[in-house]
């Protein structure tokens, strides 16, 4: 029996009202590659960040090499032998690869940094990993795959016993994935415990010896890869009831509002074709990074696309022009409302009215009374919870902020509403209200295109579902045919439709 390197027991962690971890467990033994799986929001990231020293658990214990793991410092986590390789490593672009490996720990001779010894040690590490990078090159312009190698070399140089790879393959080509697998097996053979987080079941089954599945902040199951099937894993990942009933109203589907044909943008997505009808809610499902947000950004015109066409009511939309899209009635509620959707320090009234300034202005000025009047109507429709419409938006809760963003766009009476993760990070009650609102609007003939990583939301709201993976649409489901298992299977590439 190989020695246990790390045990996490009864891990709990709350962020505000959200339980990120509630009873997570993980056991790692020396010389294994351990797959950690779970849907978005299952708590993997929180668990990994705790190991990296970024977060501190509210309760629970972590034992590393027989000693209690000291939490809450990235430096100390590294010194205790845990190295975390992120999906996109954060190297120092102006420093050489050798210095990137040894930053803060450069070998010293006679009180001075020993550059040649540092380069030789880095070269030896790269060779050991089977990827002979030049230690003298600067990190700027290095491919993500090679950046990960530099990070892994760093992990080796600090003699890490636990090496965590957080979705390392998401941005790699298949050749680079193979190379990374070889590296991971090298680490395994040297007795490291490697944690491999991936959404791609095929990869997990190919590489890992043990698999642990998380759901809703807790560990659901852990088993040797040989003893389980992909179907078991999917069952564990989604085995949750669609508990909250989203108020989905029956709608009559009208004419085509949005028609996307053969849309492509280099390196992000290709061959994207679909229609959205009046009164219809269409969801783009898929894993984070599958290209969904990029597609809607291109449709709205925030980014330019390289090929294809976007039509609204039959008229082709100019490429890369949000103002042209808005002029024909397209509205986009972005994923990150704090950064892209709201003026946080401006009042609720001003935020709700900002898209309507042309309609309510008198000459060059805007009367705040007209803004208030406009905001009041929406506040009632949306049952917004606030003290004063003159309060800055940043004082509202996340859910209520999202309502203001929706109000601001619905005020323009759009024909097509695009929402990207409309309920991320907001509480259940407000979530249901947002869903009700979207459903009501679609009943009145609004076409809605929704990007969402939350399966229950997708299944509860959408009339049709397109599943994306790696920049392509890989599946289409009608409301009546869609099941969580089927969507996960397509999104992770376990099944092809």
């Amino acid at each position: 029996m190989r020695p246990v390197v790390l045990t996490i027991e009864g891990a709990f962690k709350r962020f505000g009202g959200v339980h990120a971890l509630r009873g997570a467990e993980l056991t790692l033994v020396a010389g294994e590659i351990h797959g950690l799986l779970g849907e978005n929001g299952a708590g993997k990231s929180t668990l990994l960040k705790t190991l990296a020293g970024v977060h501190r658990l509210d309760s629970g214990s972590i034992t590393l090499n027989g000693k209690p793991f000291e939490q809450g410092s990235t430096r100390s986590a590294r010194e205790q032998g845990i190295a975390v390789i992120y999906q996109e490593p954060s190297l120092f672009p102006d420093l050489t690869l050798a210095e990137n490996v040894f930053v803060g720990r450069q070998p010293i001779k006679n009180g001075r940094v020993d550059w040649s010894a540092m380069a030789e040690e880095a070269r030896a590490l790269f060779v050991q990993l089977g990827v002979p990078l030049n230690p003298y090159t600067r990190a700027r312009g290095l491919s993500i795959a090679d950046q990960q190698i530099v990070e892994i070399a760093k992990a080796l140089s600090i003699k890490a016993t636990v090496i965590v790879m957080d979705e390392p393959t998401a941005a790699l080509s298949s050749k680079e994935v193979e190379r990374l697998f070889v590296v991971a097996r090298t680490l395994e053979a040297q007795g490291c415990a490697v944690v491999f987080v991936s959404h791609r079941l095929d990869e997990v089954f190919e590489l890992c010896t043990q698999i642990t599945v998380m759901r809703d902040g807790a560990t659901v199951a852990s088993a040797a890869t040989l003893d389980v099937t992909e179907a078991d894993i999917i069952q564990w990942m989604v085995g949750r009831e669609i508990s909250d009933l989203f108020p989905k109203f029956e709608t009559s589907i009208g004419d085509v509002v949005l028609s996307v044909k053969d849309l492509a943008r280099e390196g992000q997505f290709a061959d994207i074709s679909f229609d959205v009808h009046a009164g219809e809610i269409v969801a783009l499902a898929g894993l984070v990074g599958s290209g969904r947000s990029e597609v809607v950004r291109a449709i709205f015109g925030v980014d330019k696309y390289d090929a294809g066409s976007v039509r609204i009511n039959g008229t082709e939309l100019a490429n890369g022009s949000p103002s042209a899209s808005m002029a024909v009635g397209v509205a986009l509620v972005p994923e990150d409302r704090r950064q892209q959707g709201l003026f946080m320090s401006a009042s609720i009234a001003k935020n709700s009215a900002v898209t309507m300034l042309k309609k309510i202005k008198h000459g060059l000025t805007v009367k705040s009374s007209s803004e208030i009047a406009l905001a009041k109507t929406w506040a009632e429709t949306l049952s917004l919870k606030f003290n004063d419409l003159n309060d800055p938006v940043e004082r509202l809760s996340g859910g209520n902020q999202q309502k203001v963003v929706l109000a601001k766009w619905l005020a323009t009476k759009p024909k097509l509403l695009i929402v990207d993760e409309p309920t991320r990070g907001i509480d259940i009650g407000t979530k249901a209200e947002v869903h009700k609102l979207l459903s009501q609007q679609s009943q009145q003939g609004l076409a809605v295109l929704m990007v969402s990583s939350e399966l229950p939301e997708v299944l509860g709201m959408a009339d049709r579902i397109f599943v994306m993976r790696e920049g392509h649409i890989v599946g289409e489901f009608l409301r009546k045919d869609a099941t969580p298992e089927a969507i996960i299977a397509v999104a992770t590439g376990a099944v092809t439709v």
Binding site: T74, F92, P93, L95, Q106, A171, S174, V177, E470
Partner: protein, 326 residues
């Protein structure tokens, strides 16, 4: 051989140095007076103050900050040295007063930038005005003249070794020592990391606040010392001493390959940058170009330097790869 050529041209200071040589040679051919001993002295002597300050500034810019207070501090330090000397204090005492002033300004800048996380541009713009204001109040229209300044500084300001003015030799030695430290000390390497990727530097355990504080302290100290160079060079000091120097200093750094976005550059590069700007100014004079054009030319050079830098770094783009088939 090819590898050697690549490595030499990869050094950022090389093109600046080539430009410097070109300016000097071309101007020298057009006007041999430019290359005479006195011509060379003009360049070296004229650059001493800016070069000294640029050495300190390069340390700050490397970590993606800026220190605008250096001109005020150097001017005030020059005045204080003269003032203390006039009150019959010895040279060492006078220099220590200048150093103390520099350290004090550096400590305040450092505290505000490193620990209160205020932007260095604003903090040092503020301290630039505060120091200048106090300086004006204390100097109150007085001028320190040659007879009041310490005798030694007056001598150093006039002396040359092999036609190279002592003051420039001092700046060059300072640049050499600081460059060596920046190359070889772990803590100094941290400054490069901090300028190259600020969020990541905290994640790898670099004590960012402490490093930032001490770098500003060092910049302050250099500014204090530069006060002595200033007094020695002009043999006088008044409330306008050092006015506007900070911009020349930053220009010298940027032209000398210290990227304003941090992470790269060396103190000796900043020194070469200062030399290049000074020799262009003098070259234009030697070629009979109107004084008024000189600033325009220096400004153009500055913009060209950062455009070239941006162009060169945009040529190496991170490659994004995506798996299309599975």
């Amino acid at each position: 051989m090819r590898a050697l050529v690549d490595r030499v041209t990869a050094i950022r200071e090389v093109p600046v140095f080539i430009a410097l040589v070109l300016v000097v040679v071309v101007t020298g051919i057009a006007n041999p007076q430019f290359l005479s001993a006195s011509g060379a002295q003009d360049i070296f002597l004229g650059v001493a103050v800016v070069a000294t300050l640029a050495v300190g500034q390069s340390v700050i810019i490397v970590m993606r900050h800026v220190d605008l207070s250096v001109g005020s501090t150097a001017g005030f330090a020059a005045y204080l040295i003269g003032n203390e000397s006039a009150r019959n204090h010895g040279l060492i005492y006078c220099l220590l007063v200048a150093l103390a002033l520099g350290l004090a300004v550096g400590a305040v800048n450092g505290l505000l930038v490193a620990y209160l996380k205020l932007p260095s541009l604003v903090v040092t713009l503020g301290s630039m005005y505060v120091v200048r204001g106090i300086f004006n109040q204390i100097a109150a229209g007085n001028t320190i003249n040659d007879s009041q300044a310490p005798k030694f500084l007056g001598f150093v300001g006039r002396n040359s070794i092999a036609h190279i003015p002592d003051l420039f030799i001092f700046a060059a030695i300072l640049a050499f020592i600081v460059s060596l430290i920046m190359h070889s000390a772990r803590s100094a390497r941290d400054l490069y990391a901090m300028g190259s990727n600020p969020p990541a530097s905290a994640l790898v355990g670099i004590p960012v606040a402490r490093r930032t504080f001490f770098a500003f302290l060092a910049s302050g100290a250099v500014s204090g010392i530069a006060g002595a160079v200033l007094l020695s060079r002009f043999h006088s000091a008044d409330a306008n001493s050092g006015l506007g120097l900070e911009l020349n200093v930053i220009a010298a750094c940027v032209v000398g390959g210290v990227a304003i976005a941090g992470g790269v550059g060396t103190p000796y590069g900043a020194l070469i940058g200062a030399l290049l700007l000074q020799s262009i100014t003098l070259a234009l004079g030697a070629l009979g170009v109107s004084q008024f054009w000189q600033q325009a030319v220096n400004g153009t050079l500055l913009i060209s330097a950062i455009s070239l830098d941006r162009y060169l770094s945009s040529r190496i783009k991170p490659t994004t790869i995506m798996r299309v088939s599975s």
